[in-house]
Assembly symmetry: D2
Homo-oligomer: 350 residues x 4
């Protein structure tokens, strides 16, 4: 069994990763680091894990923890992993960063979108953007992966086939709806139950930071710049993200042609389901049917009248949007079956 | 006291209208017609009204009921009011139709959007589109009002100032999120609690019928055609609609200029609140803060980077999106204060 | 118009009271005191009131505010109103305290249930327990009212007819389910959306403080001690309380007899609805159908098999459970119609 | 691999069982019978299973399906399995019935609680009540198991240690709160989203059928009759059951003593977690922390003041309350590790 360390284990992503590592047949959790919860049992922070893991959080040196493990996952707030990873990177152990610090290739993108002078710009090109559906081969041969943002994953994977096929005219609008777990576990007025229940709160109409990743990855697919606008909304649920992307296009393809394009693109990708039925209640992707699983559902519709393709993505933000995708990357890095430890179907109803 | 009849009183819109008529100091409910619930007490269908109205639904001739009342409201499924209104219209009583049958001016629009040969096309131009904020004067002098669709109200009112100012380039994308009460009171798999809870279900990515109203009204404001695409999503709540409209524009105005445009446009409109704060959790419109009231909240943001204005609308679909707006129209038709009977503030938290 | 001051206006009860005072035709809000929010506009804290009240919170001397108003409401955390009311009480203005400080008659009850040495025990008997259905006459002639706790109101009113009739054997178990708004507006881990959503959290299996009020009031009805056990649960909603009270009894009455007992007891009480249907989905009280109104719904069932009467109460905790009941008391104190300003029917669906 | 057939695979319990069988390493789904959905792909009814099982429902003879499989699960509405099981029972294959038809030992109990003349009373004693924590040994040696009702499982397992220890005085009141998935997948007014959202609906104040099982099993533990009263409430969630049981007792034990009693009782039961913390938000069982898992959490509190022990149970009604418990029984019948295929931890947050 390979040993895994989690740096930043007390947040929701850290908790989900702990759950998935526990389920994984080939790896074992060696340590979980949390400064704020050090000394507490894991289940006091993640009550679902009561009776499962008899282990406490540690605040022992993250660098030593990392360098003595086979794989280290970082689940830290933006700006923190880039402070410690440079030191760890020297030892050439496998690093999977679930934060934003190494997702973008351009140093200037960090200044622009994060208002952040990147402290380790030389490392940016050593990290692979951890979306197996786009970068499977690079992930297989790297030791450093930056796991995408949850909204970015949904938007990119639902749009990628269209963009690579060149069906768009370069102008894409992403309208995202997210559950509360994406905001993390720290209480605030914004997440106070009485204030958060029943909302449709457009918390970021413009300028959401995940936009940078979407632009980067979609532009790569076409070797030209794609212009992406995004608006993000909080909705009344805990897990799940849905992105509806409106793609303006001079030539609207048929549904049948889009089926072919999507099928071809995702052949060999076990966690992408194409959802585009003709009948029934659930003809298009809905995060409800991905909860607890590593699936991302993608679908589409066409509007011949107004020259628009609608691309829909849905996933569980803590699994395919974070921890599950990270484990999928780990599997690929380790040469294992991509699905290892990730076979639980979604729950329904829930 | 003027007498009011409701034709179609057993649905959610009929129930909300009953509640508002009960609260109104100048009118009195004379009869409420429901074929399916005839003979039953109102509170058996609308349990909130228990102990308030000691009255049963009737299936007595809707034409006689209507023609013997001062005002008649129709809350019927699409295609039904146009069958009986022609007969009633002869008597020149005040008619307020909350259905879709008389919203559109063009007979051909019914064929296109509803697949429906309109049985009374001559009446289409006799009806005023019942949005006081756009047609207050016409409403004051008509006897026939067609109350807008709930999503259309949110989209049109959030967009109207921008469009009349000519800030758009003619291309608008509306992304709507709606609560379950918009689907009515009839059980189905789509509204079964276990299936409907926690969804972000894009039930109409293209071709939603309310689009026709939005196009009609926005085009009127500019005397040119506006192209509108809409995608509609069911989200996890009962009341409320939010529309996020993405407006592409060559020249993005400043926030300050938009404030002026919105303020000027809605001066004298007591139910429109402009919500665009710089700080706090609730900087933009959210249906959560309109529940139970006739307010529509409108707001905006600008994206200089991608040449986009985002216009946000939020309302309670059963009040400003239907029954409250209908009462507001009635007040104007009767020469009363526009706000009469509609002064209850929204509930919070709820 | 009489002038009203609210001391403690920034919490949820204070906000609801502000809403109800705004709607009331005979009184006017003069000032709303909040130490923490002083200087801020009311709508920044209560976003539903945007566009309605153009007024800020003040931290000006609560004693001067109170003594220069006709009626003063206190919506303060436990232990605070008893510090300032002694000073104000001298001036003989009308005081309505929505906190717990003057609900109990016995000084020792505060030591026992609240672990609190009451600083003004002499005033305890000057306050009337503000439940109009039990103490209407005393409220009409007092200047000092202590508004009951929200759970206590539901439990007492659903049980009172049974207990006064002597149908119980002195042993009652109350199982309460409450929405999040009962926990107030201050964020914490317990109310963090991701942690609070979907719970059935028994936060107080034994020893809930409202038990003291229930014992006091039920015992008064029978001039003997009634033993009450209560367990309180948080459930997944914002507004609403339901209490299911299990009453052990040697002689189980018939449903018909209970109907008579309840009808007689609540004759003349406009805000109590007896809900006990034979058919349909909503045969018993459910807070869902009281939201936004001052109704308390009470109902019952009998279990001949196990010698048990089940008494059910349901209400909106912020209205009949707090602010609405306070306004009802004010109306009675002022000699007005008990229902003035409280006529809004509940919302449905919501 | 052993072959499994599910008779009644299109309901929520059938769907959950399909999911668990898919995950199980030692058995394989051979057929899933549904009369109403015959011919349709499984994922059209259980959208979570899209892309996982490429199989259709069949309406081929359930008797032949059953008799040619190693294990057959029945997930049928009350009264149906007892019609076909007598024929199948002859062949001595393993039968696990998730319905109510073989849970009770007394023929007369069916007349009393179900108003049902049992068609196969001779078989009642051949079935073992499938609660491994009480009947592990009998399950290991039988070929016929009747899986308990979901509420019964929570109530019995939270109460069993107390009752076996003789701490009760024979009088127990169970107050249950259940999610919507317990009502199944068939739409009705009671489960219509707008009507079901936000409820605390006491749908069965007295006479709930699961009471019969609770009485049977608790009485067995003490060899004397235990009197149980139950009231059941629908609350605003999809999965989960919580039972709060109020146990009247002359001698209230200490918390420490109860810890010992519970620990001893559940030693060797891998799916029972005892939850009774002194600090924190989640000191007692809450279904929120069991979702997706086979855990049942049990806890307790004591009320010295009113001579009451409160026993709390919480579980996922579709897993430990039905399909998961059925798989656990299967594992025991087959001599496998009791936890096989059931190791997924609960999801959190969700």
């Amino acid at each position: 069994m390979l040993s895994v360390t989690i740096i930043g284990g007390s947040g929701y992503v850290g908790g989900e990763l702990t759950r998935l590592v526990y389920l994984h047949p080939e790896v074992k959790l060696k340590a979980t680091y949390s400064k704020s919860q050090a000394g507490k049992y894991i289940h006091t922070v993640h009550p679902n894990l009561r009776g499962i893991l008899d282990m406490t959080f540690t605040d022992y040196s993250p660098i030593e923890l990392a360098t003595s493990s086979d794989i280290t996952f970082f689940c830290l707030p933006h700006g923190q992993s880039s402070k410690i990873i440079p030191e760890i990177a020297k030892s050439n152990i496998r690093i999977i960063d679930l934060g934003a610090d190494f997702r973008l290739k351009e140093r200037s993108a960090y200044s622009k979108w994060y208002g952040f002078q990147h402290p380790a710009p030389d490392l940016l090109n050593e990290f692979v953007y951890g979306l197996p559906e786009l970068h499977r081969k690079e992930i297989a041969t790297t030791r450093k992966v930056a796991v995408p943002g949850c909204m970015a994953t949904s938007a990119i994977l639902s749009l990628a086939p269209i963009v690579r096929e060149g069906l768009d005219d370069g102008r894409i609008i992403v309208d995202a709806k997210v559950g509360s777990s994406g905001s993390g576990g720290k209480p605030s007025l914004a997440t106070h139950f009485s204030e958060r229940y029943n909302v449709v709160r457009i918390y970021k109409p413009t300028g959401h930071r995940h936009t940078a990743e979407i632009i980067q990855e979609l532009s790569l697919l076409q070797k030209r710049n794609v212009e992406v606008s995004m608006s993000a909304h909080s909705v009344n649920m805990v897990r799940g993200i849905e992105t509806t992307s409106h793609v303006l296009t001079p030539n609207v393809p048929s549904v049948k042609d889009l089926w072919k394009v999507y099928r071809a693109f995702y052949s060999g990708s076990p966690f992408v389901r194409i959802v585009r039925d003709l009948h029934g209640v659930n003809k298009f992707p809905d995060p409800k049917f991905t909860i607890g699983s590593n699936f991302v559902d993608v679908g589409f519709d066409v509007d011949q009248e107004t020259k628009r393709v609608v691309a829909i993505g849905a996933l569980d933000n803590l699994v395919k949007g974070a921890a599950g995708n990270a484990v999928q990357c780990m599997n690929i890095m380790l040469g294992m079956d991509e699905s290892e430890g990730l076979k639980s179907p979604p729950l329904h109803p829930v």
